[in-house]
């Protein structure tokens, strides 16, 4: 990568004997929006705090703008940070909160006021400069926190689950707002979340973390459609897993229950009879035959849930149950539980999962 701006090199972090982050490598481009996505306790916050300087890595280093900042104190790194708990200074007004970093940096008063005004406009809270944090809603407080973090034009913006304390509606509108502001200012951003929808909708790239490791780094499209590991496949989106045995490795045939299913690729390195797991997204499976979806399997419909525009059907194939989505069609009644059914899918959409 040519224009790497933030670089995390072989970072390893242990608290006592508990390893929390290991072998972490990441290059972030100037202006890029990268999310850390993963389950609770996987080390997202710890990795973010290492970038911020609140924790020192046990080994490895962090570079910002080509400079090694691993041993720099947080107040020397020129970063902006937004916390889940807002963390506005209760004794200061909105304007004073936003201007805090500028004042610390010794900016002249007139210039500071202008900058605070700009930031208030950016977060659409022009009228609120004189209010105190307790007079604001959660969403407004978080916008002020965002403005405060960005007022000093930091090199990197770090957000630790900034939306998770907000209710669902505010969360969606604020994530769009954050992304728009981030793009407008072109600020390099790391966003921590355990919400896959947030990560998929906002990010240029996602780092899926598990047990302190970066399991996969990729665009939302890659993460969702080409999960590199079983964990990523299972964690991001709904995934149907079919357990089978290799029937013919060369031809790519897998036996699931009593049926042979084509995976469309040679299963190199596998032997016949070896157990193997196939994974399929619900949207990659059709009920009944469909053009372009050459592989088929047969089963019994277990459950039909009407979700409005889509109908989710659960079909039992031997011991496994797969979910698939069909669009609601007012002209034809939905399938009925208990009926026999066939499913079809394209061999290319099948992921092979490591055991």
């Amino acid at each position: 990568m040519t224009d790497t701006f933030l670089s995390i090199r072989q970072v390893h972090k242990a608290f006592g004997t508990t390893v929390v982050v290991q072998e972490f490598n990441l290059d972030v481009r100037q202006g890029e929006f990268v999310s850390f996505l993963g389950p609770s306790g996987c080390g997202k916050t710890t990795m973010l705090r290492i970038v911020a300087g609140f924790e020192e890595p046990s080994s490895g280093s962090v570079f910002i703008g080509g400079k090694d900042v691993t041993r720099l104190k947080p107040n020397q790194r020129n970063i902006g940070m937004v916390f889940q708990a807002y963390a506005l200074f209760p004794n200061m007004t909105v304007a004073q909160n936003i201007g805090f970093g500028l004042k610390v940096a010794g900016m002249p008063k007139a210039q500071m006021q202008a900058r605070v005004g700009e930031m208030l406009e950016l977060i659409k809270l022009q009228e609120f400069g004189g209010r105190y944090p307790y007079q604001l809603s959660g969403g407004q407080q978080q916008r002020v926190a965002l403005a405060r973090a960005m007022a000093g034009k930091p090199q990197v913006l770090l957000l630790d689950e900034p939306l998770s304390a907000l209710d669902a509606k505010v969360r969606v509108s604020l994530r769009e707002e954050i992304r728009a502001i981030q793009k407008e200012l072109g600020i390099t951003t790391i966003f921590v979340t355990h919400d896959q929808e947030e990560a998929l909708s906002m990010s240029d790239r996602i780092v899926v973390m598990y047990n302190g490791r970066a399991e996969q780094v990729g665009t939302p499209f890659e993460i969702y459609n080409k999960p590199a590991t079983r964990f990523v496949a299972g964690f991001v989106g709904t995934l149907n897993v079919l357990e089978g045995k290799v029937a013919d490795a060369e031809q790519g045939i897998v036996r699931i229950g009593a049926e042979d299913v084509a995976t469309g690729r040679a299963l190199t390195g596998r032997r016949a009879g070896e157990p193997i797991s196939l994974a399929l997204r619900p949207e990659a499976i059709s009920l009944g035959p469909k053009d372009g979806r050459a592989s088929t399997a047969h089963g019994i419909i277990r459950e039909v849930s009407f979700l409005g525009s889509v109908i989710r059907v659960r079909v039992a194939l031997g011991d496994d149950v797969v979910s698939l989505d069909t669009f609601n069609n007012p002209a034809t009644p939905p399938p009925v539980a208990g009926e026999k059914a066939s499913i079809s899918f394209s061999p290319e959409d099948v992921h092979l999962l490591d055991q």
Partner: protein, 263 residues
């Protein structure tokens, strides 16, 4: 319900009488200096007594010095322990409680032993040195109240996240203490300060044993030798204490309100 309320009122009235009667009695007595009529003669006599003015001024100065030193000692300590050494909080709490358990007379004898004229730090050799010693004694006496007030104030804010937010905005420790932590615990600090003031103004044992011209020993002296003036002084001293309590109530209205926290 009504029975309950009836008894509550009875106890309330009894409580008020228990506290108020002696005060009212003292107040009434303090105005009887002139035969046959109520007058403020006793108050006049007290207030214009040069020794009253001297000792009172001395004690006020001591109280202010005690407050400044106490705040400088307690606020950074309580903050640091909350931030970096939370496991040590029980220890600190215990240490700050000790002055309530150890009688001041024991403390002051210890001081005299440690800092007498033939010791390694002969503080009692000079008036200034003794003043300093007395002031530190007062800091110790006020420690339980000051520490608890400040610690309660710190509990109301998210010390760690606010500190980190300020750090990420480029602030160093001095800025964080002065602009973020202190303003948010100011009300707590002030209530600690008023309590300290009330304690120092009335303190007798330490001042007497260190032989300093403080208000407490003066109270005792007058009390032993006069009839009406001690009553007037007692009322004045009460007035000061209550004034401090009222001020605590007033300033707590101006506390910066912590915003609604996410849950």
């Amino acid at each position: 319900m009504t029975v309950n309320r009836f008894w509550s009122w009875i106890f309330l009235v009894l409580g008020v009488l228990y506290f108020a009667l002696p005060l009212v009695g003292t107040f009434e007595f303090s105005m009887k200096m002139r035969r046959g009529v109520y007058s403020l003669d006793a108050y006049e006599a007290v207030i214009f007594d040069p020794r009253f003015q001297e000792t009172f001024t001395y004690s006020v100065m001591m109280a202010l010095a005690t407050i400044v030193v106490g705040v400088l000692l307690v606020v950074p300590t309580a903050y640091w322990v909350r931030l970096k050494l939370p496991a040590w909080r029980p220890v600190l709490e215990f240490v700050t409680l000790l002055p309530l358990v150890i009688p001041p007379i024991v403390i002051v004898f210890g001081y005299i032993r440690l800092y007498n004229t033939s010791s390694w730090l002969p503080l009692t050799g000079t008036a200034m040195g003794t003043n300093i010693l007395l002031m530190f004694g007062y800091v110790v006496l006020a420690l339980p109240y000051m520490y608890r007030a400040v610690d309660t104030g710190l509990r109301a804010i998210d010390v760690r996240t606010l500190t980190e937010a300020a750090q990420s905005l480029g602030a160093g420790w001095a800025t964080i203490m002065w602009r973020v932590i202190l303003p948010n615990v100011l009300v707590a600090v002030l209530s600690g300060a008023f309590l300290t003031f009330a304690i120092v103004i009335g303190e007798f044992v330490m001042a007497a044993l260190l032989n300093r011209p403080a208000f407490g020993p003066y109270l005792q002296l007058i009390g032993a030798n006069r009839a009406y003036e001690p009553a007037a002084l007692a009322v004045i001293a009460f007035g000061i204490t209550w004034g401090c309590m009222a001020l605590i109530q007033v300033v707590s209205r101006f506390a910066p309100r912590p915003p609604a926290q996410p849950h």
